[in-house]
Subunit: 377 residues, 2 copies
């Protein structure tokens, strides 16, 4: 079957032929529909992050997937169920405490594999196998945009951690600053723009499609070349919540200056190596005297995938049209890895069964055994 | 009446004579029993922090107080109630949102006064007046150690924030690192040593009374000259929770390296001005990939004072004897401001009515109007 992967020592993705997997007992066979591409994929391709599976000299890419159950293979799933896989899997030694507690997203890097990223093949191939516990079932109608559920799940987890950190007193963010107008930044703006005043910081000249999206969502675009993070409070206003979605290490500290009292900065990006001087006392004093918090967050749990489904359903239809700039068939997968100011979010398409659902009435079949309603093509 | 204060431009505390206050409507008159001294008092005296009340050229010191209601003056209090005052009061403009919401401890510095610290007189005087809402009633038996309730309340709030920040997943701290063996550090060790493995970092040669206390509490003393914060994880073990109680700005960043995955660092100290170089990427990456959190915390709310009462009651009696090294009558208040390796926690004593309670049976009088039981001398 066709797969997109990267060989060890190479720094470009390739179309590969690999054997179609056979599900083991307890695993279902999933037909891949679409797989998104993000900054982590580019880091993996560049060799800055991640690793091939043990004993392999190549990694199949892709961690933002949506697929359809091809063969339930005796699991609780039904043929035709639309599913989104989570990313983390137990390491070769077996499930550790983080997996046993249902919080693999909280495991340190050395205690988990990450499909398509670190030590386990991803989903950029025609079929993959999975135990049901690593799959989130979604409505068939969401299949087309299902590859956005994983990145939004990362935001759901980060938001949950941020809100939890302020849950011992009355607090709700009225102003939010998103650092970065990349795909994760724009998803953050789209998720939050209805519930707060949102600023999004970028470094683009107008006209620019990301600036257009930010403004159409009702948020304010801030050019960081004119107003850097450290000037946000004075230039605009202090913000209750900051999402750091650039991976620029100075932002992790500077964001504290942009926060209003009792504010919380959420760190999502992974930085390049860098050293720099800071006003350490200012950072420390701001944190203490203004009751501020900094929260690091990576990956997401199944509950965050579930929350992401609802969030994506709430996005205005125009947003998805403007946000997803490329969906490339697997044969021309390179188009999904292209970069440029006009590129926002891209995906590789392996199958497009939902086109049938969109052009003809959905044939809803009630599954007698589980009571679930499933959609088959 | 006698008071201990500091004049503007001076850097030493003085015994002053000031008029005894008359309670306004809604205020009770409180007879001061004991008032603790801490690092903040020393910062105020040195002129590094705080300010005299508007229109005054001196500040009455003291924010860690315990007193007894002398005249309820028509409030809900009863004569003889033992009370601990909270520290924050509304600014001259009046109560703002933080006070209205019942969270004055979350107000930024410019939106609150702090008794004995910033813009409002403290409690180091024979009598003070207060509205009941700024007083926490405690049992008469706790009066002697009541001046420890305020510093412990600060720890209760910090712990609450730390636990809240991890409340969205299963987490409880099994290992804790306390940075600093000053009075706040030792109170932290005493509060937590029964529920976790606690390390306390200091820079003292043995024999030393603080090291003795740390070890008698069952915690491990770590000499930072041998094992700095950055070496704690390798030299001992990573810890789930770090309390920064030194105000050393580098600790605010270095503590992240001492944290176990999903750990939280709580910042309590206020640093001196300082700039330094950091490995910004390491800090940022550790925060993100290991789901770590940093929480700044200052002051405390009434609920934290209530929690502190229970905590102090749980301290072993020997701890208080070893911890409180000086209780100086107001006439020799200078003894409570002395420093040295044998000095741990000190207080100024204005009245000692409880000596009667300790040497003769308590005369318990039931108050018919409220149903509360109050103790009178």
């Amino acid at each position: 079957m066709k797969a997109v992967g990267v060989k060890d020592g190479s720094n470009r993705p390739e179309l590969m032929q690999i054997p179609q997997p056979t599900p083991s007992e307890g695993e279902a066979l999933i037909r891949t529909l679409r797989v998104g591409v993000d900054g982590t994929d580019r880091e993996v391709i560049a060799g800055n992050y991640g690793a091939s599976p043990r004993g392999q000299d190549r990694l199949i890419l892709g961690h933002e997937a949506v697929g359809m159950v091809e063969d339930p293979n005796g699991t609780t799933l039904n043929s035709g169920d639309v599913v989104v896989p989570t990313v983390r899997r137990p390491p070769p030694e077996g499930a550790n405490e983080y997996f046993q507690r249902g919080h693999p997203d909280m495991a340190p890097p050395e205690m988990t594999l990450e499909c398509g990223i670190n030590g386990a093949d991803g989903f950029m191939c025609e079929y993959f196998t999975s135990q049901p516990e690593y799959l989130v079932e979604i409505a068939a109608e969401t299949a087309r945009r299902g590859f956005l559920i994983e990145p939004v799940s990362v935001l759901e987890k980060a938001l949950e951690l941020a809100l939890s950190s302020r849950s011992s007193f009355q607090w709700s963010p009225e102003t939010i600053l998103v650092l970065g107008n990349g795909s994760l930044g724009l998803l953050t703006v789209s998720m939050l723009a209805d519930s707060a005043d949102v600023y999004c910081l970028g470094r683009r000249d107008r006209p620019d499609p990301t600036v257009d999206i930010i403004e159409r969502l009702g948020a304010v675009y801030v050019d960081s070349r004119e107003t850097p993070v450290t000037e946000m409070a004075a230039g605009y206003e202090p913000t209750d919540l900051v999402f750091e979605a650039t991976g620029y290490a100075k932002h992790a500290l500077q964001c504290v200056e942009a926060l209003a009292p009792t504010g919380v900065g959420v760190l999502l990006g992974v930085p390049e190596p860098t050293r720099f001087e800071i006003d350490g006392a200012r950072f420390h004093k701001e944190m203490v005297l203004n009751n501020k918090a900094l929260i690091g967050s990576v990956n997401a749990g199944k509950q965050h995938f579930d929350a992401a489904v609802d969030t994506i359903e709430s996005f205005p239809p125009w947003f998805l049209d403007a946000f997803v700039t490329t969906v490339a068939p697997v044969e021309s997968f390179h188009d999904a890895f292209a970069t440029g100011d006009d590129v926002i979010k891209t995906a590789v398409e392996f199958d497009s069964v939902w086109t049938d659902w969109l052009t003809q009435p959905l044939r809803v079949i009630s599954s007698g055994s589980t009571g679930d309603t499933t959609v088959r093509q």
